[in-house]
């Protein structure tokens, strides 16, 4: 048994720390407030570091990173409070395109030259992966898609949409380039400053159908739950670290507020939550994937558990920072907002917890 990071893991983590370091809160704020909510040149740098390629196997042109590698990368992104949508615009499409056999599209995604995003959320379906509001009809040329999606990540950055749609009662994935006929996008801002979109397709031709069924989608969701949980563990570590530093330095009534027992005990509770979250993350990322049901259940449980802990730590971090915690000028607020988004990615705490409980 060994829970130490390997040399390679240390390398990933320090590479991300170096990459994220120049982005202080003010720079993060400017980046997030820009029209697309992010910067394409930065994305290219991220790709050049091999961080997207980590998500695909060597046979598919990737670096063949393991789930543990990817989880540690996601955690480092969180701990750095980095503004990079690596998990939703990097890892997610890479996993789908590789597993779905779309080699050509995958190449551009791994290189950072193509930004692809998954359009799966439907208003009526809440957090369910079942597509019912988007229909794919087969015709002589292939498939045409009609329907609506919401909360499509990175809407203004994406060159390629991977769209889930109903085909005869099953949910399948289709590729739709951003300039496809009948495609209409309405962009809006999310809590973490990223730009999402409402996507409407009207008899829009798909350029390909991925070789993925419902089970393939469920596997992708399990992966994404793990990486979202990992980023949240990083974010809550940052929130806790910043809060500990603050209460030691902030003086009221002539002494550091960290000397008040009322705060000390609550900070110990946060610390306990954080340790439990990290353990749960390790448990899920080290779970043997031979049995899909067992591994999906572990990912669902970890997401629910860590989401609750990270939110609780974020709320305490704001409270203990007082007025400063409410502003947009500290990492605290930015981290809290990112946690809120990640906590709902591929199911909120109730949804993930129910999946965990029902799979027992």
């Amino acid at each position: 048994m060994n829970f130490d990071l390997s040399d390679e893991h240390h390398m990933f983590v320090s590479a991300i720390e170096r990459f994220a370091a120049p982005i202080d809160v003010a720079a993060r704020r400017r980046l997030r407030l820009s029209p697309a909510g992010y910067d394409r040149a930065r994305w290219t740098q991220l790709a050049d570091m091999g961080l997207i390629a980590l998500a695909a196997g060597a046979d598919a042109g990737g670096l063949g990173g393991s789930a543990v590698d990817l989880a540690l990368v996601a955690q480092a992104i969180g701990a750095a409070n980095a503004p990079d949508p690596l998990i939703e615009l990097g890892i997610l499409p890479a996993l789908l395109l590789e597993r779905g056999g779309a080699g050509a599209a995958l190449e551009g995604v791994l290189a950072g030259t193509t930004i692809a995003t998954l359009a799966w959320t439907e208003r009526g379906q809440r957090y369910s992966l079942n597509a019912t509001g988007m229909k794919a009809d087969q015709n002589a040329d292939g498939f045409a898609l009609t329907g609506e999606k919401t909360m499509v990540p990175g809407a203004l950055l994406a060159d390629l949409f991977i769209v889930t749609a109903d085909v005869g009662g099953a949910t399948a994935c289709f590729l739709v380039p951003k300039d496809a006929p009948g495609l209409c996008l309405r962009a809006y801002r999310l809590a973490d400053g990223s730009i999402a979109g409402e996507l409407t397709l009207a008899r829009t031709p798909a350029t390909a159908r991925l070789a993925l069924d419902n089970a393939g989608l469920a596997a992708m969701a399990a992966d994404m739950r793990l990486y979202a949980a990992a980023e949240m563990v990083g974010l809550s570590q940052r929130l806790l670290d910043d809060t500990l530093a603050y209460v030691k330095q902030r003086e009221q009534f002539g002494i550091a507020i960290g000397s008040f027992q009322a705060l000390q005990h609550r900070l110990v509770d946060c610390y306990a939550r954080q340790e439990q979250s990290r353990s749960m993350l390790y448990r899920a990322m080290l779970t043997d994937r031979a049995d899909a049901a067992t591994w999906h259940r572990a990912a669902a449980g970890a997401k629910a558990f860590i989401g609750e802990n990270s939110n609780a730590i974020a709320r305490e971090a704001v409270q203990m920072h007082g007025g400063m915690g409410i502003t947009d000028e500290l990492a605290i607020g930015h981290a809290l907002k990112r946690v809120l988004v990640l906590d709902r990615l591929f199911g909120d705490a109730d949804t993930a917890l129910a999946d965990y409980a029902l799979a027992a």
Binding site: R126, M151, A191, G193, Q319, G323, G325, T327, R344, D350
Partner: protein, 402 residues
């Protein structure tokens, strides 16, 4: 023991309802509903303020001789509850609830004549200079100084978290006039005009994207010695009087119950994603029910305090209890609203205002458009006006005798 209103109270309630029916316009209702910041924007708030002023109902909490309504505590409660039920904008408390009562209680006849009518009419908009960068929960350690020079106080220092300083004509400020005595004893309460070269206002952006609060810098700012309320060194006792008004006197439960009612309504129309509506999910339904119970209990707690006030007893540390409970229940409602509205509640528009013709189209629903902003802004509810920690210290010390 009973918790019924008298027939006079019911007649009064009907009068208030009829007034709201006739005067609360759709524009005001819409502006109130779609303002997710802590304070309503002045264009909506002051329009409603002036309507209430013309009716003579703008200052229920003031003594009748100073322009108050002369209502009983029960009538004040009824008025607040009916306003909440009708979705009326919440008026800025800064003039009416904070500095107004201070001037009523501690001001000279000249000060009353000069300031009170303009607060009532809405001609003057006020902000509050209390917290400083180094003085939050430990307010008495404040450092902004004022020294008498001729007939003026000359003020240097800074204030922070100053809500609507960018709209304000006047600031009421706690300043240090004597640094040689016990910290509480050296504080003085001054009224200072905002429009002068010695004052600058810097916005502090909130994580919600709102601009509500500011830092205010005083560099040889001036105010006439005639604008001192009470004596030099009396500022701390005035401050405590004001903070009790800020914390108490107002009722949280009516607006909380109104918000809970809205969530109950939405829960019947919001799909759960697994067939049926979210309101039928026993886990969500139970959490919502639990919050309703808290708010229903708080309503009676508030009525019990009112009943005490009606007997002529002064509001005491119960105001801390109400503030503690009310702000926490509010935050639980905000969390439930995010859960209820699902993916749509992740939107965080930065455009303001969200009412009127220029407002951006909501994604999903108007409730979803403001849910995240409300959640983020209302994190402040357990911090401003004395944080939870401060309220608990007050209760532990003064109520529990610890």
């Amino acid at each position: 023991m009973d918790m019924d209103f008298s027939s006079q109270d019911i007649a009064f309630r009907n009068e208030v309802r009829a007034f709201l029916q006739n005067n609360l316009t759709d524009r005001l209702r819409d502006g109130a509903r779609r303002t997710p910041s802590v304070f309503v924007e002045p264009d909506i708030g002051m329009e409603w303020h002036r309507i209430l002023y013309r009716q003579g109902w703008v200052a229920p909490h003031w003594p009748k001789e100073d322009g108050g309504t002369g209502w009983s505590p029960t009538q004040k409660f009824i008025f607040e509850r009916e306003c909440a039920l009708a979705g009326a904008p919440a008026l800025s408390i800064l003039g009416l609830r904070l500095v107004g009562p201070v001037i009523c209680a501690f001001g000279t006849p000249e000060q009353k004549a000069r300031f009170l009518p303009r607060i009532l009419s809405g001609d003057d908009y006020w902000c509050q200079g209390y917290s400083e960068p180094g003085s939050g929960s430990d307010l008495a350690s404040l450092k902004t100084s004022a020294r008498l020079e001729g007939g003026d106080y000359v003020i240097n220092g800074s204030k922070i978290w100053t809500t609507h300083a960018h709209h304000a004509d006047w600031i009421f400020a706690l300043v240090r006039t004597d640094a040689t005595v016990k910290k509480q004893a050296g504080i003085t309460f001054l009224l200072v005009p905002m429009d002068q070269p010695g004052i600058s206002v810097t916005p502090i952006p909130s994580m919600s994207g709102d601009h509500e609060v500011n830092a205010v810098f005083f560099t040889d700012a001036r105010t006439s010695a005639e604008n001192r309320i009470g004596a030099e060194g009396q500022g701390w006792s005035i401050a405590k009087f004001l903070l009790e008004n800020e914390r108490g006197g107002s009722c949280y439960a009516p607006r909380l119950l109104q918000s809970i009612g809205r969530l109950e309504q939405l829960a019947q129309t919001q799909p759960s994603g697994s067939g049926g509506m979210i309101g039928h999910d026993p886990r969500f339904r139970d959490r919502l029910a639990r919050v309703r119970l808290e708010a229903e209990a708080l309503e009676i707690t508030e009525l019990r305090i009112l009943a005490e006030l009606a007997k002529g007893r002064a509001p005491g540390p119960q105001t801390s209890l109400v503030k503690l409970l009310g702000s926490n229940i509010g935050q639980r409602i905000d969390t439930l609203r995010l859960e209820l509205l699902g993916p749509d509640a992740l939107q965080l528009p930065l455009e303001r205002p969200l009412y009127g013709n220029e407002a951006p189209e909501p994604v999903g629903s108007e409730d979803a458009q403001t849910a995240m902003i409300q959640y983020l802004n209302n994190r402040a509810a357990t911090i401003f006006g004395g944080s939870d920690e401060v309220q608990k210290n007050i209760i532990a010390k003064t109520v529990l005798g610890l």
